[in-house]
Symmetry: C3
Subunit: 331 residues, 3 copies
């Protein structure tokens, strides 16, 4: 595929912002201030790197209003240079066009419905009453259970499993190896053994969600497990049964969220965090990497440590202990 090229004028026509100057030739890519060459556009999102504006070889730069006059070469001025950068990368790297149709090797149940504009790849399996909406792409080797609904323009990368009865919104991305709707982990002890509690809820994933490779989201025990629209989930994350996650949360790799815990909107969860079950985590909470959350958090709380505590207390306590132990050792 030919890589697209754009002038600054063409970029702002598509993405907004103000173009100042114009490089001698159209731009062909996006790079960092350090690595960019004359055919690249770079960006300055962190004022810490402002000095690089003077030394970059980039053909043009994206800057915020405050840096409008710190740059002298061709530039785009945007209120939010980092988001502008994200859109510019998408402009230079468009998704390959979808090839509509169902691959002849795919096994699609006669009662399943695939929109004519959707793509279903080789070796996919679709159960009874599954529905694939317009513009969706189902990668090779995916298994879509009975009654599953996949929304418009959603993309399943290869080898995703969706168990029976789960629903996936529009413009969702599920990476390879994701498992949606496996049984939640529920059992009762009975006469010296464990009896499995059948997990009869489903999973509902909103719109514009991304789920990273090999992440697992379990079906509910009775109610559904719910992932709110706009939430971004990284690789190898475990989300337990009945969990409810709000809108636009960010959940970094290898996090584990135990059953029935509820997260509000815009919660930020660092890598490898563990959360106990039945908790309520308020909107805008920030949880540092490797924290162990064992109690509710109020909106806006910022915590760290295991057990998790306010981040200032964690840093103070850690520093205090290290000093104390060091002094004792020195005696």
């Amino acid at each position: 595929m030919e890589r697209p090229s754009y002038t600054l004028r063409e970029i702002v026509a598509r993405l907004g912002g103000e173009a100042v100057g114009e490089p001698p030739a159209p731009l062909t890519g996006v790079a960092t201030l350090d690595s960019a060459g004359p055919a690249d556009i770079a960006f300055l999102a962190n004022p810490k790197y402002r000095a690089k504006l003077a030394t970059t070889r980039a053909g043009a730069v994206i800057v915020g209003p405050g840096d409008r006059d710190h740059a002298s070469g061709p530039r785009i001025v945007s209120e939010n240079p980092y988001a502008y950068y994200a859109k510019t990368v998408a402009l230079f790297h468009p998704e390959p066009a979808i090839v509509p149709g169902v691959h002849p090797t795919a096994q699609v149940h006669p009662s399943a419905q695939v929109d004519a504009s959707a793509h279903v790849g080789a070796f996919c399996v679709m159960g009874p009453d599954a529905r694939i909406a317009a513009g969706a792409r189902i990668g090779e080797g995916c298994v879509i259970g009975a009654g599953v609904a996949v929304g418009e323009r959603t993309r399943l990368h290869p080898r995703v499993t969706i168990y029976d009865g789960c629903t996936i919104g529009a413009r969702v991305i599920l990476h390879s190896g994701v498992v949606i709707g496996a049984d939640g982990f529920g059992m009762a002890r009975d006469a010296g053994r464990w009896i499995k509690i059948p997990q009869v809820g489903g999973v509902r994933i909103g719109d514009d969600v991304e789920v990273g490779a090999n992440t697992t989201i379990d079906r509910g025990a009775g109610p559904d497990t719910v992932i709110g629209s706009g939430t971004m989930i990284d690789n190898l994350v475990q989300i337990g049964h009945n969990v409810q996650i709000g809108r636009c949360c960010v959940i970094v790799a290898q996090v584990g969220i135990s059953g029935s815990t509820r997260l509000g909107d815009f919660v930020m969860v660092g890598g490898q965090v563990g959360m106990a079950g039945h908790l309520t985590i308020g909107d805008g909470t920030r949880i540092g990497a490797q924290a162990g959350v064992i109690s509710d958090l109020k909106p806006g709380d910022t915590v760290l440590g295991s057990p998790a505590m306010p981040i200032k207390e964690f840093h103070y306590m850690t520093a205090y202990i290290r000093r104390l132990a060091a002094r004792k050792k020195g005696e």
Copy 2:
């Protein structure tokens, strides 16, 4: 599929217990005391929620002998209401009937044996001498290596891999993405590089085991890796080579157990726990979430923290440090 409905009399005829009264119409589902309606049966397993018996809209409730007279409506009295609840859910949500036969797309080696009552799904691969016992279900896209034995009524969800020579017991459930029998992590340093140590043991999984989505259980280096009957394993767990796990253990998501460690029976392991290699963990041990276990544990020990220590010591120590640091700060 038509959802089944049952009277209390019909339920106790199947599951035991004592029926007191009878709702006006048969019941069609199971729910919590809070969410149940007149067609649902609910349960009270935790006395903390006893007051809800007065306010629930449930058509009937399952209670223990001590709560026999705290409920006034139709009820079932059972010695173990939580286990009874588990069985009731299974009664209302029966597994779909198995469809015997091998899907025409499956690639089954001529020397492999599939019982006539078993099901092998689309795009499965079965190697030489693999055996699938009566009533087993092999989901779509599973890969079953040479010489693998899968026991009666065991269920593999889609996209499970079992490497050569591993054995899986009866009534086992392996969720999607599980990998059984990949090589253990063993290497020797030699002249400035690593030489792989071939892993020539297998994996033996007992009966009535459940393994969660994307969990990995490595084959032994020489001896087998062994999972005892009745053990329940959650998602994204890592079990290293030569590990031996006893009967009826419970291992929550994202736990990692290093090579050659042995767990007794009824060991409870919280989420994200890590265990060093070559340890002996006694029967009935309880290990709190995120703990790091680096030494043997005696039967019945309850530990927490990294490094793991007795739970009382952990709680005392944590509280003490927080107070100490807080006081120091206040000075």
Copy 3:
């Protein structure tokens, strides 16, 4: 397959070392000093177990030069008994011969190239311009994206996904469920929602690398993610975008390495370690299990704890706090 058997003389002819004596019959396997029988060869790599030389039933033993005269039976003397053991296991357990050819069910794009000596299994998918080199084995159900290159004698176990444009070196082993080249986790906040930043780099894996089951290695945001030759990676590891890992590192299960962090050569990373992004970790660094690394490490550093600190400080501090709390409790 017939198991091979060897005399000591035949072993040293292949692997070097010195043979002393010869058991009455050829050897047929390798075992530990404890479990070996008369047809097995065992090894002593750790002097702690020297006394077992007197009691082992092994037909022969592998020992270091210092133990040459501590053993009295047939033996092989090698400078590095543990590496010699690794090679001996490989000698007794040769890889099954490759069956060249593409399985008739595999979907291989016409522009893809598969060497005549390579094997491509059932239900594999290969995209445009993918290349499989001589002697490579692609397990069943693998999905190989456009432009992917797989090196000589590399082995993909079943159900591996490699996204478009990634390159895999020679003699690499990728275990089942591995996902190479899924999108890195990058987003920009824009007007109350997250915009995905397209991840336009790739993944480059060197030679002689092993990657454990269900591990995920994300593609770069702009530059590539790089895994150096000879590095060994265990199961369920997460490697973020732009990470660069040097030669011969060892990364134990469930480790998470955040974006843009660089590891030198021979770095040893214990299980469940988490590493923040944009760090520089020097050659030969050792990071203990469950550590949380949040700052750069110098070559040869050995750290533990979360936040990670020098291992001696961690042990001292932990012991000090436990004593302090215990004393306080006793007051």
